[in-house]
């Protein structure tokens, strides 16, 4: 399925879409993405904060909120069911994939990633704004797609292939986790595909043929169900984006990811 739009397309069609800046970085990077947004964004974009629009009752980082809470928060950003959404971030492609996935889970069909994100947009000298306005409230009703998000009991029972998007050294357990108190290693029988390998130097999703060979080389059967996982459900969304680009259907994300699995001493773990 189509998952991205080009910068050219967006500049021509920006009047007919809703644009979201979904930038987010690991806390260790110390960036204030909202301030960055305020000083520099694609005209008319709104800021979507995955830490704010998340399940406030969970101790885990930015978990998927309930449909009703999601409805309320995105309505405040001026989003309605009938809008076409374009998501970007300041990295090229990182947390935008998470927001794209969140809208997909909530049943929104018309959501796309801006290929190359803000860096490509700026490098092409396209218009930039620092004019932040409050959106007129939208009307949004989610229809949650439960088959696209899984939890621990489902992981323990699943026959699906599990892809872990973290760095190979974190996957193998050689490198420490960035979050404290987490064990090192991975879910037994999961397969490592580092999310960066799906992106080119400009942080754009690689062409279909290259994506296909990455998955096939990793031993993935694209006709069978796949669950993706990572550190906290952000880069696992990039794997989903790539899989959807290849028209994969039975794709789900383990939202707890390593932030949850790594914390639980009672769950099986593998290294190397």
């Amino acid at each position: 399925m189509q998952v991205t739009v080009t910068t050219d397309w967006l500049e021509k069609n920006h009047q007919t879409v809703k644009i979201l800046d979904a930038s987010w970085y690991l806390p260790s990077e110390g960036r204030n993405t909202f301030n960055e947004f305020k000083s520099k964004h694609i005209p008319n974009a709104q800021f979507f904060d995955i830490d704010v629009i998340s399940d406030k009752n969970s101790h885990l980082p930015h978990m998927l909120p309930s449909p009703s809470s999601f409805n309320d928060q995105v309505e405040k950003l001026g989003i309605s069911n009938n809008v076409k959404l374009i998501i970007y971030d300041t990295d090229g492609l990182f947390s935008a994939a998470r927001v794209w996935w969140m809208f997909k889970v909530m049943g929104h069909i018309e959501v796309f990633i801006l290929d190359g994100g803000l860096p490509k947009w700026i490098s092409e000298n396209r218009p930039i704004s620092n004019d932040h306005y409050k959106a007129q409230r939208g009307i949004f009703k989610s229809s949650l797609m439960p088959s696209t998000v899984v939890d621990i009991p489902q992981i323990l029972e699943t026959t699906a292939q599990i892809i872990d998007a973290r760095h190979p050294k974190r996957f193998s357990g050689e490198a420490p986790e960035p979050r404290i108190n987490l064990r090192s290693g991975h879910i037994p029988n999961s397969i490592n595909i580092f999310y960066k390998s799906l992106l080119n130097k400009q942080n754009c999703l690689r062409p279909k043929s290259e994506l296909l060979s990455i998955f096939l080389n990793a031993g993935i059967d694209l006709n069978k169900p796949i669950i993706t996982s990572c550190g906290s459900g952000v880069t696992a969304s990039i794997i989903i984006l790539a899989l959807k680009q290849l028209d994969h259907i039975q794709t789900a994300l383990y939202d707890g990811s390593w932030s949850e699995w790594g914390l639980r001493d009672d769950l099986p773990i593998a290294t190397n």
């Binding site: 399925m1 189509q2 049943g107 069909i109 949650l144 797609m145 439960p146 088959s147 028209d247 259907i249």
Partner: protein
């Protein structure tokens, strides 16, 4: 004597089922009959119903007759579920019936007893049984436009225009939610406009609500029914428990007839009782009793509501998946309507020839008018279905 009988046309949906069962292909896909199926192709008994059955087995002490129009506990529980507080219940007369089909037949027989000889208006298209029952009872049938085959949504302008022809005292049959066979439903605004028009025409609404809880949610799906019940001096409701309680074979349905005032309601009640007596005396009780137990026990009700909600969102999930797979296959948004439709069915808008090709070439069975049962669309089959739909040129 029996030699003088003419052959009846076979029920085409039931006939389709027989064809499907006889098809030896492993990869065949059943999107035909209107029964809910889970991802494994089973129609499970709901947990709450199973629990109520177990309690009933332990506590039921007699199998003597219930009341002629069924148990009053069932009437009240169903009135709360369908009507809530939209109308004073002393204006409502009740009658338990064998399924929702029984309720439809029952209402039309009651209408005949009034000797007012109205035209009964149905949406075009509507569930096949609506028309055949009305025909069987020798009633005058009217049809109003409903579905735009191009956009696969409600053709509201044409609907209003046709309904402006109804006469004072005519019956207008409306699907309470989850329109069968199209899947296209009225918005709240459109319900409001229809209610104003029918009030002005002094027509009598007859709501068939067979899928409460399958569309937007248990309460949301009763919006139109409650709106009308609140406004109209007279109205009929036929409700089915087959789908939302999963008790198809128990045959559990109910008629609710709203009269102008409590005095007339007593006479209406007597006539409902009379119709039952002439047809089969007492209605089936087992399913009705299970439904009453589930609705009246807080824990059972909560469990029922949550299982029903799972069924509902599971079907929406399948709808979105299918719409997205079709987007991929045809590179356009022309099948997005599947995600906007609600309930167990959608009309694809294909020709009968295309439907036959789907069956013959791909082993995909849907009703000849291109109604497909979304519950049959499991995620592992989404791609196959989408490819086939495009392949036959829909």
């Amino acid at each position: 004597m029996l030699t003088s009988l003419k052959k009846q046309p076979a029920d085409r949906i039931i006939g389709l089922s027989a064809l499907y069962n006889a098809d030896p292909r492993q990869e065949k896909i059943d999107l035909g009959v209107g029964v809910y199926k889970d991802a494994h192709g089973n129609t499970p008994i709901m947990r709450s119903i199973k629990e109520a059955e177990s309690q009933l087995w332990n506590t039921e002490s007699t199998k003597t007759y219930t009341a002629m129009t069924g148990d009053s506990g069932f009437h009240n529980a169903m009135a709360d579920l369908v009507l809530a507080d939209s109308v004073d219940q002393d204006r409502v007369s009740f009658c338990a019936t064998p399924g929702g089909t029984g309720a439809i037949h029952h209402v039309l027989e009651l209408v005949k007893l009034t000797e007012t000889n109205p035209t009964v208006w149905f949406s075009d298209p509507t569930w096949g049984n609506h028309l055949t029952i009305a025909k069987h009872l020798n009633m005058q049938i009217g049809k109003y436009s409903y579905f735009d085959n191009e956009t696969r949504s409600v053709d509201f302008k044409a609907m209003l225009s046709d309904l402006s022809n109804v006469a004072n005292g005519d019956i207008v049959v409306l699907h309470g939610c989850c329109h069968n066979p199209t899947g296209a439903n009225l918005s709240k605004d459109q319900w409001n406009i229809i209610s104003e028009l029918l009030l002005e025409k002094e027509a009598i609404p007859f709501i068939d609500i067979a899928y409460q809880g399958f569309g937007e949610g248990i309460e949301e799906d009763a919006f139109g029914t409650r709106l009308l019940a609140n406004k109209f001096p007279e109205m009929f409701i036929a409700a089915s428990c087959s789908k939302n309680f999963g008790i198809y074979r128990e045959r559990c349905g109910i008629v609710m007839a709203i009269s102008k005032n409590p005095d007339i309601s007593i006479i209406t009640q007597g006539n409902l009782s009379y119709v039952n007596r002439q047809n089969f005396s007492f209605p089936p009780d087992h399913g009705a009793r299970l439904v009453t137990m589930v609705l009246r026990d807080a824990d059972l009700r909560a469990d029922w509501a949550s299982e029903l909600e799972q069924v509902r969102i599971g079907m929406l999930d399948a709808r979105t998946h299918l719409a997205e797979a079709l987007r991929t296959e045809c590179n356009s948004d022309r099948f997005d309507f599947l995600a906007h439709h609600r309930g167990m069915f959608s009309r694809l808008g294909a020709t009968e020839e295309q439907v036959n090709r789907l069956r013959d070439e791909f082993g995909i069975y849907m009703v000849f008018d291109s109604r497909l049962n979304i519950a049959g669309v499991t995620l592992d089959k989404v791609k196959t279905i989408a490819k086939a739909v495009i392949e036959v040129g829909i």
